[in-house]
Symmetry: C2
Subunit: 540 residues, 2 copies
């Protein structure tokens, strides 16, 4: 019979994170770009004090544990205070993606049953558009001082954040409760159907934040200054707003200014050492730095996720700017980082190009997360770096079901990610495709991403996309779409000949369609569903 | 009403740690010094396979979850396998300190009800001495091959580790169970009374190992090679044997060779980057390096705990050898590290001497642990760096009671450490004295340690100790013991005059006693209880 351990039985709670920051790193700075422009700065001790004021204010508004509080906001200090006040009170911090279509925004606010919604003045037009359709929202709280409040015609219950918290005490006794209670809620921005909510527990967030702090992941300590570009409305900004006070790192929040010039300026001014975000952000940052002949004085590392970062970009950061890229993978359903790459001691002796090729993959699962790949029958595939299968994940911060969902998405206790991946013997995982985009031909799989990358290697090609088209003999065959660079005249035969030299013969597309542009969605991703609708007939 | 989070509900288990190492860092090396001399090397994948073999073997011996398995062993790979096989099976890994008096060893083996005891051949004489008095131990398993088995006359049930595990499968399905179950047991080596057992839970060990891996603590990642000198029989070697496979660091285990020359040689040969241990180890390592004009090629950081590391030693490591000291504090009751120091980004600009003075303190509590200091009435004292009080700790890996203990040692949910400390506004804690050694005089406290350090600043003094002696007016007054350096003739008046210039007037001892040597115990600590017995009368 098992013996019970004799250790203190204390819950892992979000409130402890900011109180740890206040008690042990009380003088460490948080720097935040206000929505109306200037920089605001204070300390973790002051952040905790204002989070407690907000907790008191929300309580006085009648909010109780279990209630949801929405946010439509940038990465800034008031959003940070809300993270702690809401989750710390046992309420659910529902971060809304402002890039969603207003109809989707209305859907998620109503589905989550947000009692109040916090927003930045940037999003006043959005609030104006959705407020009338969100009857359960009792108050829309604009995160600003009275002087910077926007006028929102037709919306009656708009409150000013600073006026709201001003009269309240800095003392608040955070409730103690089950660490498996819900702390935060984020909806997937699925391209089809309604968004689905993922309800993160207090425990999941705390463990994931500890994981993100580890040296093989983002690596945070009192020696570091972190600027998370990844939005706080998007899978908890990889839990970095928790990891920073937990580990004593200075936190720099960029607000609405995410262009290359603004980010560079802020990184230099605040001596930022580490950052995190999607590849497109780093592309624009790099362009700004290159065009202006600039250097990074302190930036030495960045976490990258959301989509694959090209090896060329990884090597530019490393070779030209001494910035180490940590390439990771995660999704709304995984709370934050699930896998991340890091060059090991033995790999440090490899030529730079080989190191960058390793980093171009999505790395190893972090402690607390397990990964495997399976075939269409659910059988586990070998970790040989060749076999491609659907990536399955399991762990302490992986969802078990969607919010108010009817059926569990899990298969034998694992979450099927919808991504097609390979895993090498050493554990390194590489995303090869989305499951719905992979082309199944003659019992084998062709990665649409790999084929697109090969096509984009042709000097006349500006953009490329590949879809699978039904085929009577092979089940599916690839169809290639090409957008030519301005003034280029490359034709079908030349493209196919180019690919024949670069990919397996059976990968070469059956046909090529030339378009002026590829159809893209709200987040800049190519909409293959649109291509399939128009071109997805049957090859003869 | 709180909402339940929708995250997978999986326990934090020790077995997952080695399986993570096997799956994600399967090719990372473990290097281990055999008790009979040579180096042994394998990988985390092989370590996990052998841990599973041992788990099968222990099961076949009839051991069930909840049973205790003792160890009397060095830091080596078989001890590591036992850590995982025993705790992973839901049994309790009871690490015995071989430096205990045989009577105490008998006491703890019987108190823990060890079913089997694993031992290194070094400790065969100890096994011979205690075996007859430990009737519940069914087998004494020597951790060696058949060729290196010692002969232990009079002990019948001695098994050979390699023969024991050889026939068993590398497959073992680790049981899943409550993460609050006991995983490991370690007894305090109290100088009075019987040793008291601390039963660590699976959860406490996993969380503490994650904490130790963090960059502000020991900092472990695939880029690092760690050599834990801190013994695996002593508070889980700070959980580093768990933290290493968790984070992908190469692990080097020094076996019985802990002298400066052996450690240096191993650090160089295996490209060790980080280590951890008590100050005396680093003193002997430094002496070896200095005397032989050597350099550290790869060693860049070391964790230090157990007792205070002098600032002079800290600065030698930093200034002369580019080795950063991370000074921490913990005790058997805190599983592993509770506080640790790390120079922050802003402090990196301070002069070296100021940085070393910061590191000479015991640092800040790590995330998951809270600290406070209290006066004799239990009232919380200010964090002003001046007020001295008993250090109280609370957190996820702090004990709640001793094994089979009758009463809880906790006070209002906090564990009273028996250490006297100050805490600065920034959260930095410094141990000033043991509670039983502090001198309470006229309502104020004098740190015996500070007074001893001041006395040892006199060039003629080889060693010093201070105790409190009852005083009719002042409650207690300090009495100083001095051991002169050979050939020195310093007398009472000169010592007191020397101290008068260096400490507050009311700190100056009332008398000085000259001794040829101070009484020391088994671990080299001065036995103030003996001094009190002989000299602790009453000042008039």
């Amino acid at each position: 019979m098992l013996q019970p351990g004799l250790m203190m039985d204390r819950p892992l709670l979000v409130s402890d994170v900011i109180e740890h920051g206040a008690a042990q790193f009380g003088d460490v700075e948080v720097v935040s770009r206000e929505t109306h422009g200037p920089l605001f700065r204070y300390t973790y001790a002051q952040c905790a004090a204002r989070a407690r004021k907000l907790a008191n204010a929300l309580k006085q508004l009648g909010l109780e544990p279990g209630k949801a509080v929405g946010s439509i906001a940038w990465n800034n200090h008031r959003h940070l205070e809300a993270y702690y006040a809401v989750s710390g009170s046992g309420m659910v911090m529902h971060t809304c993606n402002p890039r969603l279509h207003p109809q989707q925004l209305i859907y998620i606010i109503n589905h989550a049953e947000d009692s109040v919604v916090l927003f930045d003045s940037t999003f006043a037009p959005l609030v104006k558009a959705v407020a009338a359709h969100c009857p359960k929202v009792n108050a829309w709280i604009c995160m600003s001082e009275a002087a910077n409040m926007p006028v929102i015609e037709g919306v009656a219950n708009v409150l000013c954040y600073e006026d709201l918290i001003a009269p309240h005490s800095e003392q608040f006794v955070w409730p103690q409760f089950d660490e498996r209670s819900g702390a935060a809620l984020c909806y997937t921005s699925g391209t089809t159907g309604n968004p689905k909510g993922v309800l993160y527990s207090q425990r999941a967030i705390v463990l994931s934040a500890m994981s993100a702090s580890m040296p093989g992941s983002v690596s945070l300590s009192p020696k570091e200054t972190i600027l998370p570009v990844v939005p706080m409305f998007h899978i908890n900004a990889w839990c970095l707003p928790y990891a920073a006070p937990m580990s004593g790192a200075k936190l720099v929040l960029p607000g609405p200014r995410l262009d290359g010039a603004s980010l560079y300026e802020l990184m230099e001014a605040e001596k930022v050492t580490v950052s995190a975000g999607v590849p497109t952000i780093w592309l624009s940052l790099l362009q700004h730095v290159e065009q202006n002949g600039l250097r990074f004085s302190t930036m030495r590392r960045t976490g990258v996720g959301g989509s694959a970062m090209p090896a060329a970009l990884i090597s530019k950061f490393a070779d030209n700017y001494d910035v180490e890229v940590r390439h990771g993978w995660g999704m709304t359903e995984t709370t934050a980082v699930a896998t991340i790459g890091c060059i090991s001691a033995t790999q440090m002796n490899l030529p730079a190009a080989e190191q960058h090729a390793i980093i171009a993959k999505q790395g190893k699962s972090v402690y607390g997360i397990e990964i495997k790949i399976v075939d269409e029958n659910g059988a586990t595939l070998p970790r040989d770096g060749v076999a491609q299968g659907e990536l399955m994940v399991r762990g302490h911060w992986i969802l078990t079901g969607y919010y108010k969902g009817e059926s569990s998405p899990l298969v034998d206790g694992w979450f099927p990610t919808g991504d097609i991946a390979t895993i090498e013997p050493s554990g390194i995982m590489q995303i090869r495709d989305r499951a719905k985009d992979v082309i199944k031909t003659g019992g084998e799989w062709i990665s649409s991403i790999d084929l697109e990358n090969a096509a984009m290697g042709h000097p006349a090609v500006a953009n490329a996309a590949v879809i699978g088209v039904k085929h009577p003999k092979w089940d599916e065959r690839p169809l290639l779409f090409i957008v030519r660079k301005p003034g280029q005249t490359v034709e079908r035969e030349e493209i196919l000949a180019f690919l024949t030299e670069r990919v397996a013969k059976w990968w070469v597309p059956d046909d090529v369609v030339f378009l002026d542009a590829l159809p893209v969605g709200g987040t800049g991703k190519v909409q293959k569903a649109d291509l399939r609708k128009e071109y997805g007939g049957v090859f003869s």
